[in-house]
Structure formats: C-alpha cells, structure tokens
C-alpha cells in the first residue's frame, strides 16, 4: 500500500509520520508542498507542525499551497486523506471537513497524553478495531473545535464525529476536554468518511519504550482496511 506525506514549510511531524507509516507496511513517499501532482497513493497524510509559521490562521496558507488542489481532487474522488493536528487545521481551512479550530480555551499550549473515544466504526479508518478508547498524544495551541449550529446538526446527523476527548473509561464529560472544543470533539470526518481530521498524534504512540502503542493498533488496522 502506498502513502504520501505532504511536507509544508514549517511541518515538523512529517518525518515521524513517514517512520510510522513505513513501520506498519506502507510504502511512503514524502511530497513537497510546491509540487503539482500527488504520486499514486492509497493514503495521503497532512502532518502536524506549524505550516507557514501559523501566520494569519493556522493552516490557512498551507490550504492554498500548490499541492492542495491535487489533494482536494484526490479527496473528492474518494481517496483517503488524513490530517493530524496542523494537518486537521489545513483540512478545515481547505473546506474538506467542516468547522474551524480556534485558540485553546485557556490560551495555553497543551502537550500531554489524552484519551479519545471512537464514535463510529462505519468508516475506512476505524472499522475492525476491537477497542473504542485510545490513549494518544496531543500538542497544540489551536485545537478548540468550533462550527456553526447548522454545521453541528449536519455533522451529528451524518455521524461525522470521529473521536471525542474522554477519560480512560470512555466517559466524554467536559472535565476531560483539554481545549474547550465543542462537544469534546477531537476529530471529524467529511460526509463521505474518506477524509479524517484529528488533533491527536497516532504517530507518536508507536513504540512501547517511548509512550505507548495505541498508535500502532491504529496504523496496523488502517493498513489492513486499505489492503
């Protein structure tokens, strides 16, 4: 299975994602933001970081990069596109998933492990997983998900919430919400569920001796789902 990770100026999780994808059997290729065409891929990943220094709004400049037109076309034709952290911000700014990511409620940069609960497995990313609660790492300043009431209704009607912040038992209460995001939302899909944006970093949880292996479970399952 082939994957492509896009490197924007200021991306800093692109190499981690490359290592993670290769570790679990993808043949990954790094793609520069100024390229016009995506290589033939089964999965495209927009990585975390601080693309364009987070100028104007996080992800806003990167969403207008040359390569993004190809990424948008790939997504519109049903291709799997995953945006992690700054990649999620780029996805919302490019209109591939609804809503925006605002400054964290208490204005602090949050860097810690959190628990997230998978809402629905009716999608190519989470189907066949045998657990619902994952421990993943977050590191962001703008992860406070927000959308209009109309958008929220549509998101809920279409089961587009991918993951919620929760505790280790899967309880999704406000006190387990690290950044003030609407309804504890940590990640969402587009309507067709081929585009996934989420704040947590699965690529940081792929080694027991570092921080944990819940990311490994996610990547192994994703590869099997795509095969």
């Amino acid at each position: 299975m082939k994957s492509a990770v896009i490197t924007f100026p200021g991306s800093n999780c692109d190499r981690d994602m490359h290592v993670a994808l290769n570790k679990f059997g993808f043949k990954n290729q790094m793609v520069w933001h100024n390229d016009n065409e995506l290589p033939k891929s089964d999965l495209v990943v927009l990585p975390g970081g601080f693309s364009y220094g987070d100028y104007l709004r996080c992800g806003s400049m990167a969403s207008k990069s040359k390569i993004m037109q190809s990424v948008i076309n790939f997504a519109k034709s049903g291709g799997l596109v995953m945006g992690i952290c700054n990649g999620f911000q780029i996805l919302v700014e490019s209109g591939l998933v609804p809503g925006v990511l605002l400054r964290n409620k208490y204005l602090e940069f949050i860097c810690k492990n959190v628990f997230v609960k998978i809402d629905s497995k009716d999608n190519p990313y989470f189907k066949n997983l045998d657990k619902e609660v994952f421990e993943l790492h977050i590191a962001h300043n703008e992860g406070n998900y927000f959308c209009t009431n109309d958008q929220l209704k549509e998101i809920q009607d279409n089961n587009q919430v991918a993951i919620y912040y929760c505790n280790d038992n899967g309880k999704t209460e406000e006190k387990f919400n690290p950044n003030g995001s609407l309804n504890n939302i940590a990640g969402i899909f587009n309507k067709e569920k081929n585009v996934l944006g989420m704040m947590p970093h699965p690529e940081r949880m792929i080694d027991e001796s570092l921080s944990g292996e819940d990311g490994s479970i996610f990547f192994k399952n994703l590869l099997n789902n795509i095969k």
């Binding site: 104007l56 709004r57 806003s60 809503g99 605002l102 400054r103 409620k105 927000f146 959308c147 003030g180």
Partner: protein, 80 residues
C-alpha cells in the same frame, strides 16, 4: 489604491484573547469595560486606481483567504 479592511470574530465565537486583555485592563484600573473583542487589520495597496474595483479585489481576498467566514466577518473601512 490603499484599501483597509478589518476582520472581527462573529458575536457567538469565544474570544479567549479578548477575555484576557479585558481582565488585564481591569487589573490596571480600567473598571468600565463590558467586553473586549480582538480582531485583525489589513492595509492592502492594490494596483488599481478605480476605488470600486479596488474594493472588489480586496473583498475577494477576504472571502478567499484573509477571513474565515465560519467565525469571522470582514469590513472594508477605508479606500484611498
């Protein structure tokens, strides 16, 4: 022409930075504040001499990049 535009957060969107500025001003002795909202200001010099056309160009920029219309409004405040 020089076109000036301001971008403000919509009414229902939480503005944590504005809130902190409010609290700090309050701590400095400015006790008469109801609310502080923070926004952005752009001054764009466009290669267009017709004010109406210049305004249109900057409005287009606001719609496509400078503002995110899910959370922000924009207003052209000056053309000179």
């Amino acid at each position: 022409m020089k076109v000036s535009a301001i971008i403000t957060l919509k009414k229902d969107v939480l503005d944590p930075q504005g809130k902190v500025i409010h609290q700090t001003l309050d701590g400095m002795g400015f006790k008469d504040i109801n609310e502080v909202r923070q926004g952005k200001y752009f001054e764009i010099d466009v290669k267009e001499n017709d004010p109406k056309k210049a305004q249109k160009i900057v409005e287009d920029m606001c719609n496509k990049l400078l503002a995110n219309l899910v959370i922000e409004n924009y207003k052209i405040i000056e053309i000179q």
